[in-house]
């Protein structure tokens, strides 16, 4: 042996260490890929949705830049229409809906005292189907295959990819709904179910009823596109037939769980029992009536001037049922949240600020939507609808971020720094409002939707489109920075403890992060706030 040779035992020890590292890495990847643990599946949904969220918002900002000056084009003319579609499809089916579905999968079983997810492997399959479908959708758009795209094969890929992504979300929803229905802890009636678990149930049912209708249309479009293109008008007709699925009230379905999540975070921050907790559940239920409007596949317009009284009554009924009832639900939830805060001093955590501001943005969007179907206002086909869509999806995204800040410590055992997150929450609120309001005002000016040029109105188009672009860019920035802070917290954040927010519901009764089966023992629940029952000093506050 020469002096520069390593000793055999040192070499074998280094090799063994490297093999151990590689083995651990392979085992880690394999355990994530084959997991049926609801916490992991939910986190995977949320992480993937946030990555896609940043991308979709950046696309939105690029389209905003394009709208600033159509003569000085940044994007290719034939790709602009497709990018508008990508932004909408992305924000709804690749970001807001999976983010909040993932939140429900991760947290709702803990809230109801369940040890596992019903059909855990189905939920895992749902995640992978959604992820693969989402990637196919993005690849198709890149290959000029979005609605109206020029590459026929890529258009086929888009239709099949989106159908696959939606099938994945339906599968995950079936799993979540079954869990909330049958796996609640003894004593936890549906009336005692925490708001997030309840809204996950309602949102899951809405997904099960609405998404298959979209899938059915996609199947028809796909078969027609592959064989003859005689029915739906080929590439150009795709958007006409699926525009209802990427507009209001279909977008409301995606944010149903956001209402419950926001209510839960605010009630926990208030530190007291909610005096009218049932109202939150009623509000979420009434809001979900939006699914009726979505499955009818048409816009329920309200023509007013020039119609007889009989016609007015005939038109008002479907308008009120499909457009006004969801507002009532959203306003009830906001009212209940305000009631929770009345007379108290809530803990100003980042999760609280994100959730409350996100809820306000959602409710603003839902209320504003009531004007869109009024024919006399001539808002159809304008950016007003884009403004409402931006408010609803951005609001859902903000609530999702707030929920991650709130329940993240439970899921991975470490807190995300509140001091860094609070300015982001305010920045996100400002960005979402600017983006939505500017597009809505431009809509009142008659700016056409889904185009980047040809605007002809008095109020400065450049100013409005500049504000909208800035809003989208701000929200994108917030998502990226939030992701980085969450990553930092995951690796080196402050240990959270089991009950960092002085919680009221069952998820705070287990360790952070929870063990594989969530709870070491099953618990009997005797109220909607089982943990407050054990904290007598505050239960009557």
């Amino acid at each position: 042996m020469t002096t520069i040779d390593n000793r055999p035992e040192a070499v074998s020890s280094a090799l063994a260490e490297a093999a151990d590292d590689a083995g651990r890495a392979i085992h880690g990847v394999a355990s994530w890929a084959t997991t049926a643990d609801h916490k992991r599946i939910g986190r995977a949904f949320m992480v993937a949705a946030l990555v896609m969220g940043a991308a979709a918002l950046i696309v939105g900002a690029l389209l905003g830049i394009e709208r600033l000056n159509a003569d000085d084009a940044v994007l290719q003319a034939n790709s602009i229409g497709q990018l508008f579609s990508l932004h909408r499809v992305g924000m709804l089916y690749l970001v807001a809906m999976p983010l909040l579905l993932g939140l429900g999968l991760a947290v709702a079983p803990l809230q109801i005292g369940s040890r596992s997810l019903s059909f855990g492997r189905t939920a895992a399959l749902g995640f992978w189907a959604w992820l693969m479908g989402s990637i196919l959708v993005i690849v198709a758009f890149i290959g000029n295959g979005g609605p109206g795209g020029g590459d026929a094969d890529m258009v086929d890929l888009f239709l099949m990819g989106l159908a696959l992504a939606l099938i994945g979300m339906v599968a995950a929803s079936v799993s979540l709904v079954t869990t909330v229905l049958i796996s609640r802890a003894p004593g936890m009636t549906l009336g005692r179910t925490p708001a997030l678990a309840w809204s996950s149930l309602v949102g899951g049912v809405a997904n099960i009823l609405v998404l298959p209708v979209v899938i059915g249309v996609l199947v028809l479009l796909s078969i027609d596109h592959q064989y003859g293109r005689l029915v739906f008008g080929g590439n150009a007709g795709i958007l006409d037939w699926m525009s209802w699925a990427i507009s209001q009230p279909a977008s409301f379905i995606a944010v149903v769980p956001a209402l419950g999540a926001a209510a839960d975070v605010v009630i926990t921050a208030s530190g007291r029992r909610h005096p009218q907790r049932g109202g939150v559940l009623v509000g979420v239920g009434v809001f979900s009536v939006a699914m009726l409007g979505a499955v009818t596949q048409v816009t329920h317009d309200l023509p007013w001037s020039g119609s007889s009284i009989g016609d007015k009554i005939k038109n008002v009924l479907p308008f009120a049922l499909f457009n006004l009832l969801p507002i009532l639900g959203a306003v009830i939830v906001l009212g209940m949240v305000a009631l929770a805060l009345k007379g108290g001093k809530p803990r100003l955590s980042a999760g609280f600020v994100f959730s409350l501001t996100g809820l306000i943005v959602i409710v603003g969007g839902v209320v504003a939507h009531a004007l869109a179907p009024i024919v006399d206002l001539q808002l159809a086909g304008t950016t007003y609808d884009e403004g409402v869509f931006t408010a609803v999806t951005s609001g859902g995204l903000l609530v999702g971020l707030g929920a991650i800040a709130h329940w993240g410590p439970k899921l991975w055992g470490r807190k995300i720094g509140d001091k860094q997150l609070l300015p982001l929450a305010l920045l996100g609120f400002v960005g979402a409002d600017l983006g939505a309001l500017a597009l809505a005002v431009a809509g009142f000016q008659g700016q056409p939707a889904m185009t980047a040029g040809g605007f002809d109105y008095k109020f400065s188009p450049q100013l409005l489109n500049g504000i909208a672009m800035a809003g989208s860019a701000l929200v994108a920035l917030v998502v990226v920075l939030f992701g980085l802070l969450a990553l930092k917290s995951f690796t080196s954040g402050e240990a959270a403890g089991d009950d960092p927010w002085d919680g009221q519901t069952l998820e705070w009764a287990t360790s952070s992060p929870p063990p594989a089966n969530n709870f070491s023992d099953l618990h009997t629940v005797s109220s909607a706030e089982p943990l407050l029952d054990l904290k007598p000093a505050r239960s009557n506050a």
């Binding site: 796996s183 009823l209 028809l220 064989y227």
Partner: protein
């Protein structure tokens, strides 16, 4: 960690039955959406004179003939599949293993007969998927239902394997399997009326 009072053993959960119901709701909405689009095309079609100078919607092309006998046989076969699946449930509740086997076997046989009937209908109509709007929609709707029947057959195979694998006390899988065939038959009732009867 906060300690809550321990709970008694949980009551039996009907997980598979609830899950099958949810899937049933989803596929019902899937076909509801597809048939709604079909119906819309039919309603928006212009009128033309049919047999006996009666005005009818010009949706199904004049030369296309759909043989109703195999269609009705398909419908009847699906009803038979439901009866056989229910027979398996009846036998499972009485721990009658041989009759469960018979029920599931007959469900599979009638399911295969239903697939055959659908293939026969396609052969008899003698239309191509690219021939026109009606033809494309016809194949899209009936083809999707064909896929659904295959899923039903897979469910039958899974239920049979679980039963033969020794889980004879697990009636839920047999019951859920029967529920799935009921849902399929209910959906076909709508397809039968919209696609084959009103055309």
């Amino acid at each position: 960690m906060i300690a809550l009072p321990p709970a008694p053993a949980p009551a039996p959960r009907r997980q598979l039955l609830i899950g099958t119901s949810a899937v049933g709701a989803a596929i019902t909405m899937l076909f509801g959406g597809m048939l709604a689009v079909w119906w819309r095309f039919r309603e928006n079609s212009p009128l033309r004179s049919g047999a006996g100078e009666k005005l009818i919607k010009d949706w199904k092309p004049k030369g296309v003939k759909i043989p109703m006998v195999p269609v009705n046989v398909l419908f009847f076969t699906l009803i038979m599949a439901c009866l056989m699946a229910q027979y398996a449930v009846y036998a499972a509740k009485r721990a009658d293993r041989s009759n469960v086997t018979l029920g599931l076997g007959l469900t599979m046989l009638t399911g295969l007969a239903a697939l055959n009937a659908q293939a026969y209908i396609w052969g008899q109509t003698k239309i191509g998927i690219r021939d026109g709007r009606f033809e494309t929609m016809f194949y899209a709707v009936t083809g999707s239902f064909f896929v659904l029947m295959i899923v039903g057959l897979v469910f039958t195979v899974v239920a049979a394997f679980r039963h033969f694998g020794g889980r004879t006390a697990d009636h839920e899988v047999i019951t859920s399997h029967a529920l799935f065939w009921y849902i399929l038959t209910a959906i076909f009732t709508a397809v039968w009326f919209v696609v084959y009867v009103t055309k």
